[in-house]
Amino acid sequence: MTVALGEADMPMTRTRRISAVARGDRRPWTFYALAAVFILYVAALYGPMICIYILSFQDIRGGLVFPMKGHSLHWFVDLFTQVRTGDVKGSFDRSIKLAVLVTVITLVVSLMAGLAFRRRFFGDTVVFYLMIGSLVAPGLVLGLGIGLLFQWIGISPSWYTSALGAQLSWTLPFGVLVMFAVMSRFNSVWEEAARDLGATRWQTIRLVVIPVLAPGLVAVALFGFTLSYDEFARTLQTSGSLNTLPLEIWSMTLNVTSPSLYALGTVTTIVSFIIIGACIGAIIVINKRRGVRATGH
């Protein structure tokens, strides 16, 4: 039925266009209702987070709930100096290193897989469903499997071996899915032109494909970094004896009842926001430059 409608609609008459404009002028009541839903949704999305950022700036008398008791950076200092809250500094350090490693691998592997999936190839469905399986598999179950596998082979698990692999099994499917979306808008005419002009395969990728796909690749990097930096379920049983930051936060959630928990939340969210801001900014800058260049010529 929808197909029939679509075909019937193709020759758009003048009267229709006028009626569409007339309709567009007055907003229906649903606009206001849905706008209210949207505003409530955004408020509920950010409201609680903002509460804990505010509460993390209390002084030494501070508790877990409002009202605010004084203003200070006490709990931030406490976070990085107290031993009883655990090894925040070390785990922060490890999480950043791991996230960078995951980002680089995710970028390269997703780009390659994205290039491969443009055409059908023998066994592509198997690869595709392995990826989807890896995406939806419960993290703890996968963690146990990886732990047992390492135990059987005789390698002791650590954050830069088993946890790295466990996180990649989560970030790569996301990275490749983002690549699919990016690739669907990639016009292979440019690639063909490069080849016709005598570029080698590597030159084509380095000088044509990567620059054209740059904004999409930044998006893949964003997914790689943030998903690794905040990953918990898959890392829990695979990180060995040293914690990553989310594992540290998790143990604090169960033990610590002071605002230093909120302070850690504020710090880790600031890091996330810096990464998100940098990536979105980079995408905007790349697109703007392109716009200037396109109109300049």
Binding site: D9, Y46, F117, R119, V136, P138, L140, L148, S169, S188
Partner: protein, 301 residues
């Protein structure tokens, strides 16, 4: 090798795909991660579910169905599934309703394209921040002395603080909906954005009511987005344990939290058997959801 747009019949698989060496070279790194860190661990869990434990974390390679019999005959398993399914269905319902309304608003009511993208980004940014932090951020709001209770007490709606707000099933569902609505918004937004607005105009011109447009055009054409979002939400809730653990205050357990307790006391074979059962249940649910949509075509197009 020509780099052309793929003819439709090739894409939908009616022509046998040819063996393609260079494509396989390109996916080799992906497979080098998926095989050792997804496929093999899954097989290891499957194998371990037929083993016996020596009680000290070691596994005795035998073939026994005792673990499965244990899991399947225990009344606790049944209760765990009832609890987990209850959370999954409630979360699914709320994320679907909120996610659909938000996506619909952004696609059909925000006329300025740039504004729509900006508002969409505002919805997605929390996805890239820590889940655990977003979960605990409900504590200052829902706690016994939290903002909601003190506000309600202040305006005199209640005399005693409500205890059901935090550390309860309600808190679990709130935390899930808070975290997972984004998984509905993004795919539904994508499928709604692909609807040709002229189709809607034509229907209205032909005398359809706005309810008809919703029933016969918008909802059928957003089915694929809804199916994808549902897959995400249900598989995450069914595989979760930390939200249940913290937000229920130990009051309820999920299938995976029971699994994790077994791992904690080194009962690997039983844990593995319950993991295999959970995987089968999940696969069945996802297969039912995805019957309405060809996920492969949906994602790659």
């Amino acid at each position: 090798m020509p780099f052309r747009k793929i003819p439709h019949e090739v894409q939908s698989g009616q022509v046998m795909p040819r063996p393609n060496l260079s494509a396989w070279l390109y996916v080799t790194p992906l497979m080098l991660v998926l095989v050792p860190f997804f496929l093999l661990p899954t097989l290891v869990v499957l194998i371990a579910s037929f083993f016996e434990t020596d009680g000290f974390g070691g596994l005795l390679p035998t073939f026994t169905l005792a673990n499965y019999i244990d899991v399947l005959t225990s009344a606790q398993t049944f209760l765990l599934y009832v609890t987990t399914l209850k959370f999954a269905i409630l979360t699914w319902l709320f994320t679907l309703i909120i996610g659909f309304l938000v996506a619909y608003f952004l696609v059909f009511h925000v006329k300025n394209q740039l504004l729509a993208i900006g508002l969409f980004l505002i919805c997605t940014i929390p996805f890239w921040t820590s889940n655990i932090i977003r979960m605990i951020s409900w504590i200052p709001l829902l706690g016994k002395e939290g903002l909601v209770n003190s506000t309600l007490l202040g305006i005199g709606v209640i005399r005693e603080p409500l205890e059901v707000l935090l550390y309860s099933g309600l808190a679990v569902v709130i935390a899930y909906v808070h975290q997972l609505t984004i998984f509905m918004v993004v795919p539904i937004f994508n499928s709604l954005a692909r609807i040709d607005k002229r189709v809607v105009e034509a229907a209205l011109d032909a005398g359809a009511s706005r309810l008809d447009v919703m029933r016969y055009i918008i909802i059928p054409m957003s089915k694929s987005g809804i199916a994808l979002g549902s897959t995400f939400v249900i598989s995450i809730v069914m595989g979760d344990f930390f939200v249940v653990k913290v937000m229920s205050g130990g009051g309820s357990a999920s299938v995976v939290s029971a699994f994790y307790e077994n791992v904690g006391v080194l009962q690997y074979p039983i844990a593995a058997a319950s993991a295999v059962l959970l995987t089968l249940v999940l696969i069945t649910m996802i297969a039912l959801i995805l019957r309405v949509v060809d996920i492969r075509r949906e994602i790659t197009q």
